[in-house]
């Protein structure tokens, strides 16, 4: 909504002021001499015309258009409290009539903001010689007065286009110079037209950026000379070639006629140089070698490689450099003989041309990338080139020396080099293929892994405990005896049982106290054999064994002693005794 209104608001002034635009054409005079200029002023007046395009001039077959200029002025006024801004843009054309008679300047057209404007056609009468002075002079046009004392300008103000030679071969360059010679008082100078060099390749040497006159003496007369352009021209085709004339507009300042004519008057003139004709000879056909690549002048050729080894089919640059004087830029690439096992790509060209003392010198380099396709040493044969020497009027053949380079591991990238894999685009990778079974995958392991950790802790704990046990066995005898007590007890019990079965009473009785005392000794780390009964009782009490158990042990021992020394015991009694032993051991 707002956008639409905004657009409308912007367009509104254009519609209003489009109608108020004033487009008009006028000439400074309607009667003019054949060599005199007519100033055509096309003016556009209006508001907001800052971006008005240049008007379209009608076809003017009867006029030469000299210079073009434009001027712009702005006039701000306050009328009835309203500010108006009036802009005036003037396009000024200088016209030179070509023939005598009544000529018409057609209507100029202007297209601006959708509307087309046209001016009235203007009639101009052209007379021989000088016309009457114009009734009024536009402010922008220089003073125009009839030249009363005619000045011999032909000699004193000259536009000169000169060449150093007029008879050349195709490709042989000539130097052209465009200059203005002057020995008059001149106000304004302007280049109306530079000479045309059609049919030539132009190598610019100098282009003037400002009027820079230097005094020079020519045939006893001193001139102010300004060199406008200097260039080397290379004829491209045989035949008669023409260099067009250079046209210069000048306004001459006339000497004052009387005291009141203080500043003098000026007069506009146009001077033209004579067109030049160059005779371009074709290059002789006879003796023209096949190696000729268009070079005309004197040249030398040299070849080099930037590296002498190539790994993995890396390209080597073969640089063929042609240097000398002549049409260097126009020399085409010399043909490189085929090298077996090496691919030669199209060359890259670099040239460097400069002009010293009217001689076009320089060099041109052809960089051929060589891609080795087989391993080993490769030989670059001599490269030959022919050129034409215009002074000697004959062809010369020059050649480079042979070069060598070594290639290794060419096959590594050969496929890519020759078939030329190209990336055309990228896309996502394709889906995974069908499968017979789709199993669920776990993102993380289950709780079962804890078992491993517990297991690990157990393993370490066991080893530590085992280690401690081993150490104690070595250092703590009591501990060792206690540990061995049970196994020794079992061994002694088995022995006693053995005696019981064999009815070996004596041995049996002897073994029973050993069992008891041995076990007690092992268990409490006592040296039983060295103790008397009284000491034993004390020791056992000291080990905090219950009194009744000690009493039982002592009683049992006494009983055994009695039985031992009173033979004739029945088997029944033996068994009972054995059972009693076991009971005591249980108590312990």
């Amino acid at each position: 909504m707002w956008k639409k209104i905004g657009k409308f608001l912007i367009l509104l002034p254009a519609f209003i002021f489009a109608g108020e635009l004033n487009f008009d054409a006028s000439v400074n005079r309607t009667e003019v001499g054949l060599n005199e200029a007519v100033i055509l002023t096309v003016s556009v007046i209006g508001e907001n015309i800052g971006r008005v395009p240049s008007p379209q001039l009608p076809d003017l077959p009867d006029f030469d258009i000299g210079g073009t200029s434009s001027s712009q002025s702005t006039n701000i006024q306050l009328i009835n409290g309203k500010l108006t801004q009036q802009q005036t843009i003037q396009f000024i054309y200088t016209l030179y009539p070509k023939k005598i008679g009544s000529l018409t300047v057609g209507s100029c057209k202007l297209e601006f903001k959708g509307a087309t404007y046209e001016t009235q056609p203007i009639e101009i009468t052209v007379v021989e010689g000088k016309a009457k002075p114009p009734p009024q002079q536009p402010p922008s046009a220089p003073d125009m007065t009839p030249s009363e004392p005619s000045v011999p300008i032909k000699e004193d103000l000259k536009s000169v286009v000169s060449v150093n030679r007029k008879d050349v071969y195709v490709g042989e360059y000539l130097i052209v110079e465009c200059a203005v010679y002057n020995r008059l008082r001149i106000g304004n100078l302007g280049v109306a037209e530079m000479p045309t060099f059609s049919g030539f390749w132009i190598e610019p040497i100098f282009d003037a950026k400002a009027w820079d006159f230097r005094r020079k003496s020519i045939q006893g007369k001193s001139y102010d000379v300004c060199l406008l352009k200097k260039a080397a021209l290379f004829p491209m085709s045989a035949g008669r070639q023409t260099i067009g004339s250079m046209k210069i507009d000048a306004s001459l300042i006339q000497p004052p006629r009387d005291f009141f004519d203080f500043f003098g008057r000026s007069k506009r003139v146009r001077i033209e140089s004579d067109p030049l004709h160059i005779n371009v000879k074709p290059l002789p056909m006879e003796g023209k070698p096949a190696e000729f690549t268009g070079g005309v002048g004197t040249f030398s050729i040299d070849a080099s490689v930037d590296r002498t080894t190539s790994e993995a089919a890396e390209p080597i640059n073969l640089i063929v450099k042609i240097s000398g004087t002549g049409n260097i830029r126009l020399i085409e690439k010399p043909t490189i003989p085929t090298i077996p096992g090496v691919k030669i790509l199209a060359p890259e060209t670099k040239d460097d041309v400069r002009t010293v003392d009217n001689r076009v010198k320089g060099s041109k380099e052809f960089h051929y990338p060589l891609i080795p396709q087989t391993d080993g040493e490769h030989l670059i044969p001599q490269i030959e080139m022919a050129y034409f020497n215009p002074q000697e009027k004959k062809y010369h053949l020059i050649r480079t020396k042979e070069l060598k380079f070594t290639a290794t591991r060419t096959s590594a990238t050969e496929v890519a080099q020759t078939s030329g894999i190209k990336v055309l685009g990228t896309d996502i990778h394709y889906i995974k293929p069908n499968i017979a079974q789709l199993k669920s995958q776990n993102i993380s392991a289950g709780w079962w892994i804890i078992i491993f950790y517990i297991g690990s802790v157990i393993v370490i704990a066991t080893s530590v405990l085992y280690n401690r046990h081993q150490a104690r066995l070595l250092t703590d005898q009591a501990y060792a005896r206690k540990l061995r007590a049970n196994s020794l007890l079992r061994k002694r019990l088995r022995e006693a049982e053995g005696y019981l079965k064999k009815n070996n009473e004596k041995e049996f009785y002897a073994s029973l106290p050993k069992i008891i005392l041995g076990y007690v000794g092992d268990q409490y780390n006592l040296d039983i054999g060295a103790l008397t009964k009284g000491q034993l009782i004390e020791e056992l009490h000291a080990k905090k064994i219950k009194k009744e158990i000690v009493d039982r042990i002592m009683e049992f021992l006494n009983q055994c002693d009695i039985v031992r020394f009173s033979p004739g015991m029945e088997g029944q009694e033996l068994k009972e005794l054995y059972k009693k032993t076991k009971d005591i051991l249980k108590e312990l």
Partner: protein, 240 residues
């Protein structure tokens, strides 16, 4: 008609995951990506499988649902972190996003991230556990036998065990830190959990975010660069 539909539905339900997967592949090859998505999604209800996630990601990519594609590629990657196709397509889909957030990441952080994402969580856990047990055994042997060899083995083993454990913890951190992907084409992030709050950001399909808080229908998300805002819950989906 209804009966046929229900019958068909029950038949569908009885299909095994592999059959659903293969059916999805058939639809994908024929270019019916939406049908492929339906089949794959049905299979996902029954199994968790990297291959399945990858294929469904592809299908979503083909129908220009970049967010859904990235979501599924990331799920696939958490199961099979070294799969070339998964990584390639994830990168490819990321480049297709509207929001291109460039976070300057230091090269060291990048390398570390790549190292610690080389193994999946399962692999890291498994290796860490087995190595721990082997270490315990070699430590025990050292304690008993007092041979230096076992000591060296144990020291090296512990180093690796620590690496795998860090790997494991990084994965746990990633899985528990609420990564999510924007799946709506465009969503406006607000300054608070309600419609009336000011709009502060516009986020597009496929942006990977963290969920920082949830309140009602709104979630506070944070982009990798640090910006964030409240968005409706339907606009995003959590990866893990």
């Amino acid at each position: 008609m209804n009966i046929i539909i229900t019958l068909f539905a029950t038949v569908q339900l009885t299909l095994t995951p592999a059959e659903l997967y293969n059916e999805g592949n058939r639809h994908y090859e024929a270019g019916n990506y939406y049908d492929a998505i339906d089949a794959y999604e049905e299979a996902i209800k029954q199994v968790t499988n990297a291959q399945l996630f990858y294929n469904i990601g592809n299908s979503y990519f083909k129908v220009s649902k970049i967010g859904k594609a990235i979501l599924n590629y990331r799920r696939a990657r958490s199961l099979r972190p070294r799969d070339v196709d998964i990584n390639h397509n994830l990168m490819f889909a990321r480049n297709y996003r509207v929001d291109k957030i460039q976070i300057a990441q230091s090269p060291i952080a990048n390398i570390l991230s790549r190292i610690f994402h080389y193994l999946s969580l399962y692999e890291a856990q498994f290796l860490c556990t087995i190595l721990f047990l082997l270490n315990a055994i070699s430590v025990s042997l050292y304690v008993i036998k007092r041979r230096n060899l076992f000591g060296y083995i144990a020291i090296i083993g512990v180093l690796f065990c620590v690496i795998f454990f860090v790997n494991w913890q990084i994965w746990i951190h990633e899985l528990t830190s609420h990564h999510a992907v924007i799946i709506a084409p465009e969503v406006k992030a607000l300054s608070g959990p309600g419609e009336d709050y000011k709009e502060i950001l516009v986020i597009h399909d496929g942006s990977e975010v963290f969920i920082r808080e949830e309140r009602g229908d709104y979630t506070l998300i944070q982009l990798p660069g640090g910006m964030g805002g409240w968005i409706t819950r339907e606009a995003l989906e959590e990866i893990y």
